[in-house]
Symmetry: D3
Subunit: 137 residues, 6 copies
Amino acid sequence: MPRCVVTRRVHFNAAHRLTNPRFSDAENERVFGVCNNPNFHGHNYNLDVSVEGEIDPASGYVMDVNRLKEVVTECLVRHLDHKNLNLDVPWFQDLNPTAEHIAVVCWRVLEPAVKPARLVRIRLWETERNYVDYHGT
Amino acid sequence: MPRCVVTRRVHFNAAHRLTNPRFSDAENERVFGVCNNPNFHGHNYNLDVSVEGEIDPASGYVMDVNRLKEVVTECLVRHLDHKNLNLDVPWFQDLNPTAEHIAVVCWRVLEPAVKPARLVRIRLWETERNYVDYHGT
Amino acid sequence: MPRCVVTRRVHFNAAHRLTNPRFSDAENERVFGVCNNPNFHGHNYNLDVSVEGEIDPASGYVMDVNRLKEVVTECLVRHLDHKNLNLDVPWFQDLNPTAEHIAVVCWRVLEPAVKPARLVRIRLWETERNYVDYHGT
Amino acid sequence: MPRCVVTRRVHFNAAHRLTNPRFSDAENERVFGVCNNPNFHGHNYNLDVSVEGEIDPASGYVMDVNRLKEVVTECLVRHLDHKNLNLDVPWFQDLNPTAEHIAVVCWRVLEPAVKPARLVRIRLWETERNYVDYHGT
Amino acid sequence: MPRCVVTRRVHFNAAHRLTNPRFSDAENERVFGVCNNPNFHGHNYNLDVSVEGEIDPASGYVMDVNRLKEVVTECLVRHLDHKNLNLDVPWFQDLNPTAEHIAVVCWRVLEPAVKPARLVRIRLWETERNYVDYHGT
Amino acid sequence: MPRCVVTRRVHFNAAHRLTNPRFSDAENERVFGVCNNPNFHGHNYNLDVSVEGEIDPASGYVMDVNRLKEVVTECLVRHLDHKNLNLDVPWFQDLNPTAEHIAVVCWRVLEPAVKPARLVRIRLWETERNYVDYHGT
């Protein structure tokens, strides 16, 4: 059977601050610039989730995109949307919420939940002009 | 010579219905939900066609994107645009027109037509938030 | 108090056919071209609903956009999404579902429902390259 | 001389919280929902600034869009970008930072700064699906 | 009969240079900056043409958007696409091709051609972040 | 440590002409069509630069996207923006400025500048509907 990759976009709005507690204030300022604002700033994140698998001959689906949307909403969006990533989300209690780290966290949460489809890419858009891809390795 | 991938987007509008004639009505409803509407619904599809090859040193092209657009229009768009995929398009006479299946059909029709360039990806957008990629295997 | 216009986008997918039962087949073909396909075609419609009013000093809102989204979903989207406009939607039983007519219908249904805010514009996108505006007159 | 409207888009990222200090906690929760999160959430705001005037016959410009961009950056973006609207921006010390209020504040700051062109519209996008227009009255 | 505004987007690619032959080199440099490059630069222009009128009860159209597209292509796009506005297009022989002037020229050419519909707005996008509107006065 | 790909979009406006000096006029016309206009045409190019590497445990970054933006601006955009690629840019003195060739040039200039991150893809959008990818081989 042919194999396809199916991608679904979801979005969430969140506040965050980039900071490393082991850095001095000056070093945090130097490394993270305006993203180190102690009062936080925020983004409209878009998250593109891609899963791969054989096309099921009965349904013609690799995975129903509405089911994929539900899984991503349940596993990720309801924990992230309208939240402060640093203060409200346990995944980032000891992890700096850079786009890279958010993408890795999303992968780890989502990978078991989309089976038997295979998660192949998490793409996180932080703005319209920059995004991060994580492929699981 | 360096090798590049050239991508051209085309679009078409079509009606379709997702259904499996071997499913009961209840099973069709369960599997396909609102997409099983017997009166059809529809989409503005965007189709991104990607071909790969060496850059021709005389033209500086892998393949002229205007030529690529003409090939895709002739081979695919004129058969799909403003059509009912289930009723008007012979390719889907016995094939459920899911995004996955449409992508595979587009690949099979297009692959010989873009030579000597090599077709490397069909990306079919069914809405602004979901798309399917097929790479030919 | 200052007055603002608040706009919310919703979307729906639908099939339709443009036709006038009083036209001959030849005239329908001449006027509507490929949009006259008796087997229907379809679109991903985007609908931008704009309401105007004073900013409420207590909430800082003209109208909560989430409330606006709920009203539009309840009044319009659940009747239009994944439907055949000609066959499934009573509003178009005797009305050709052109973008112009869909916009007028959306206005008439929505205008009383958004009060006390004042509906000021319905913008219906039929494709990424064309849309219709209706202002209620 | 013909008159035109010139529009320039700028963007900024910010955190905010919607709240009314005169509301009870229950009322704030009821009116603002998830936007009332005491730890803030955030957005990528897009701000479209429109100015109107006669085309200057010497330059062919109503107002140089690069000059307009500089004015908006100086007057607005450097005060809003990567900030917490509630905590970092004096304009919102006693003003709930709804999209409506942000638009009005932007108007009041910008209107004198774009003269002799005439500010005619502030459009603030809070997400890709909702925006607010303010025309100064 | 209800009245609607119908908008169709077309696009064209062109080179141009902003310059005033009565300015000194220094003044051209000061007023137009990098846009004064004597070797030209270029843009992908998007042009949104809006016409207004009563909905024709027989067709349900104000004006068929495909007809509108054909008129705009014939009257404007074939004269502008893949051209150097300063050197190839007679309309700009004595007129600096700023976005404002291009919009006014498009209006004057198009207004008689769309009748009996009434041209109500020319919106010219020079980049994704700036556009000019002309309403005919 | 997990590895991510970080992508940053920049843009530039430029004029160009496609031509091969060893072709006859007729052959240039046949191969390049309207893109062969001796007076040039132009585009708003978008350039998506992707770099790959381990996430640095101290910063949580593969590479700071603001640093990536600065490198791309310094190495590429300031040489290309508001230029005539054929006449103003030495890289294209003997190289036809097709999208393919621009992508390869961008790769060669940028690859050493983004180290220790690894450049993995240059994606150059010539219009909203076509782009070229170069992966360095």
